[in-house]
Amino acid sequence: MSKIFDILPNLLRGLNYTLIVFGLTLLSSFPLSLFVAWGRVSKNKLIQKPLATYISIMRGTPLLLQIIFVYYGLPLIGIIFDRLTAVIIAFTLNYAAYFAEILRGGIQSIDPGQYEACQVTGISTFNTYRYIIIPQVLSRTFTAISNEIITLVKDTSLIYVVGIGELLHAAKIQANLHVTLIPYLLAGIIYFIIILILTKILTKIERRFVLYER
């Protein structure tokens, strides 16, 4: 029991980084994904094609490799970021691509009649997206987006690769130090609790905003 009290504060310090990366990635990648999704359904090939390539690269290579590329690769051409910034950039670009593809599917599933109804009532394109399309897209894609958000919590464990002591990394150090598997068990419990809380929050949001869909 005393071992647990020795280990836990170290794990909680690691948890800080896990939550920082999770929060910052979500805050930056989701708004970015809205623009990417909008560009992906654009009829302008000059916007659509580069975005398709970007999404293809992000989805076609492992996130771990992308983190390594941003932190270790970019300095070779003179672009240097500190560890945390590099991780946030890699995570944001990766998650924005995934979110964007989910949102694109949502946008394309909207009945063309919704756009037409806006057009004949004189609603501008911006307001059409703001009041009519995006709320319906978010509602339809909510489950898929929730899954990605939950995956993001677990993916934060990849940041060990640049030497940031997140939760799992902290657990590994404690396991080596105390020659026990208890830190891994505790880390697993902490991940589980975070995801449980997150699931509760997402379910509440879903019940509130996805009420109308039948």
Binding site: Q114, E116, A117, C118, V120, G122, Q136, R214
Partner: protein, 172 residues
């Protein structure tokens, strides 16, 4: 004084290589009610959509109140909702908005009338069409006939000079 509210000259609409209709000419007087008859696929819906600015690159001339309206001009199109309205065949209500929100969204966004005036006019129409107890409900909670009446009020609240109904038979 010319009493024509709508005049269409040589109107042609084609999608890719398929011509939907060609060189249509007709005029409608003020306060006149006109029914357009035709087989399925004859282009009735496309004609109404063209008049409402939903079909780009049409050929021919559309006059409303003797003014030539170029619906390929964005600025002209923006104000077109005040000239002409359309009640769609399948209503196209916004599923995530309540009845009240469905009918008042467009006039609210136009910002040309005070909000309480829009709301009171909306309430009057809801009362007239026996929907006053449905205003907080969502489209999926309405019957076909109720949806149709909501769609009609949505068009009427913009005070268009012409109102088009696409195959809107009375529903029970």
């Amino acid at each position: 004084m010319n009493g024509k509210i709508l005049e269409v000259k040589n109107l042609t609409v084609s999608f890719k290589k398929q011509t939907i209709f060609q060189n249509i000419n007709f005029s409608i007087d003020k306060k006149q009610v006109v029914t357009i008859l035709g087989n399925s696929g004859a282009g009735k819906t496309t004609l109404l959509k063209t008049l409402n600015g939903l079909v780009p690159n049409y050929r021919g001339d559309i006059y409303i109140n003797n003014d030539l309206i170029n619906l390929n001009d964005k600025n002209v199109k923006r104000n077109h909702a005040k000239r002409i309205g359309l009640v769609f065949q399948d209503f196209n209500l916004y599923p995530h908005l309540t009845v009240m929100e469905n009918i008042t969204l467009a006039p609210r966004l136009q910002k040309e009338r005070p909000l309480d005036e829009i709301d009171s006019e909306a309430n009057e129409w809801l009362m007239k069409l026996k929907l006053d107890n449905k205003k907080e409900q969502y489209p999926h909670q309405l019957s076909g006939g109720e949806k149709q009446r909501v769609a009609i009020i949505r068009a009427l609240l913009l005070n268009p000079k012409i109102l088009c109904f696409d195959e809107n038979q009375p529903q029970h």
